[in-house]
Amino acid sequence: MDHKVLAEHSWFASKHGFLWLLAFCILLSGNAVASPQEDAMAWLQRMQEAAVQTNYRGTFIFSRGKMSSTVEVVHRYENGIEEERLTQLDGEMGEVIRKGREVMCVLPDNRVVKVEKDPISNRVVEAFSGFMPEHGFYRLSHDGFERVIGRPAVKLSIEAQDSHRYSYRLWLDKPSGLLLRSVLLSEDRELEHFRYSVIEFPETISDQEFRPMTEGQFIQHQVIPSAQKDKAWPGNMSWRVTWVPPGYESMAGGQAPGKNVMLYSDGLATFSVFVEQVEPDAMPVGASMVGATVAYYHEVLDQDNNYGVTVMGEIPAMTAMMIAESVKPEMGSNPVTGKQP
């Protein structure tokens, strides 16, 4: 590690107690050597903090397979609350607006769509913040410095070590730590590509920039209901995900009675599990894919009731299938054997 990098690390660590101590010890030792993985971990942590605490405004291109979108974004962190507005610049204009933990989509036909809060939405995934990937499942490395949109950037490689997750290449803005570019890979094939074409870091951003384009117009509000339970669902019924790939941990949901939404993460990749009554407009059984995002739908027949299990996340289709097929109903402390159609 050169002195320039050390100086930056010292600055960063000064804001974060134990890291400051770590940097101080490294300086004292005179060795000034950190493994590529440790170095990458420090940058990854810095990226996470920058994503929340930095004010920025920019335009990025997001590509998945043959689809590509140009999106304008503005992000502000004020009084401990994150606000974000993403506006599609291609095709018909749509927006995604987030304030704190509330997300809504403003669609071109003057509809504002929100998601009804799932049981887990109120129990935020604080544990997720700062949760770093286990070393055994990814190999992290700091691959030097490059320039991205005219700014000095740190390049990180995160290599998946098994077939249950994807690999990443990240380019972080060196001064701020913000993610400027990322590529999500499956065995060297690009599934997603995210890249800023313009970015700036204003000191302050006005409230005006977070107002939806439909403000002052007649709009139709629509709420996407939370994952629907079967009316005949017994009160003490719960669902158990009996298999997840190694390294993934339950972030929220669990198997408490009545819970039918669960979230898992390995620190980088996440997947949600939804168990619902079977709807007439359910997705076809199998893996529906857009870029790196898969939604695997599977039906479980249990005591003459059909349940739909959907696993959605940025994980391989095979993994999603194995997870979905492992979801079993449980009645109180007695597991129920589900018959699969």
Partner: protein
């Protein structure tokens, strides 16, 4: 070798074979067919004045290998087509093999052609094929029986449902996530169907 068989080989080379023609070729893989295929390729090579030396292709040995390798990919492509409308696989089998399907069928027989022209393969493969490959589906050890059915061609209802789950998933994972902006970026770039 009769004229009908020659026409079938020619159709397969041109990506115009229907299933009947493909089956006819596959069921008559013998020395005669190998030589005919070889001659056709030589002519094609001369016409193009470039390309790989195909004189050493062993059609029979490559056939079995490529059929095994590509059967999963082909089935993924079929399932995607089925998902777009007809849910009966038999509906797929009745259609002519043209475009991507023809390319896949041809690749099953003529390994060297695609092995030496990988970019063409990528260009002509269907989205389903690409998705299956990108996700390592065809490379997993689970075997064909454990292969997920792939859908990459959505009708409007399917797309809307997918986008609803995408929004729900982003709602869970966007807060304090190590992915930062990415969950919402995925929502912001949903297709024109919307939510």
């Amino acid at each position: 070798m009769d004229e009908r068989m020659k026409e079938s080989i020619s159709a397969l080379m041109d990506g115009e074979a229907n299933e009947l023609e493909m089956q006819r070729v596959l069921s008559h893989v013998d020395e005669d067919l190998a030589q005919t295929w070889h001659r056709y390729h030589q002519v094609r090579q001369v016409v193009r004045e470039c390309g790989p030396d195909l004189s050493s292709i062993d059609v029979r040995s490559d056939l079995a290998k490529r059929l095994n390798d590509d059967s999963e990919v082909l089935s993924a492509s079929e399932s995607a087509t089925v998902s777009a409308g007809n849910s009966s696989p038999s509906g797929v089998r009745k259609r002519r093999f043209s475009g991507p399907a023809a390319a896949i069928a041809a690749s099953a027989v003529f390994a060297m052609f695609f092995a030496t022209q990988a970019p063409e393969w990528s260009d002509v493969a269907s989205e389903a094929t690409v998705a299956a490959q990108l996700n390592g589906v065809s490379g997993l050890e689970e075997g064909a029986a454990r292969q997920p059915k792939m859908h990459v061609v959505f009708d409007e209802g399917h797309a809307r449902r997918f986008n609803e789950y995408l929004l729900r998933h982003a709602g869970h994972s966007a807060f304090g996530s190590s992915q930062g902006l990415m969950p919402l970026a995925r929502v912001a770039s949903v297709n024109s169907v919307g939510i």
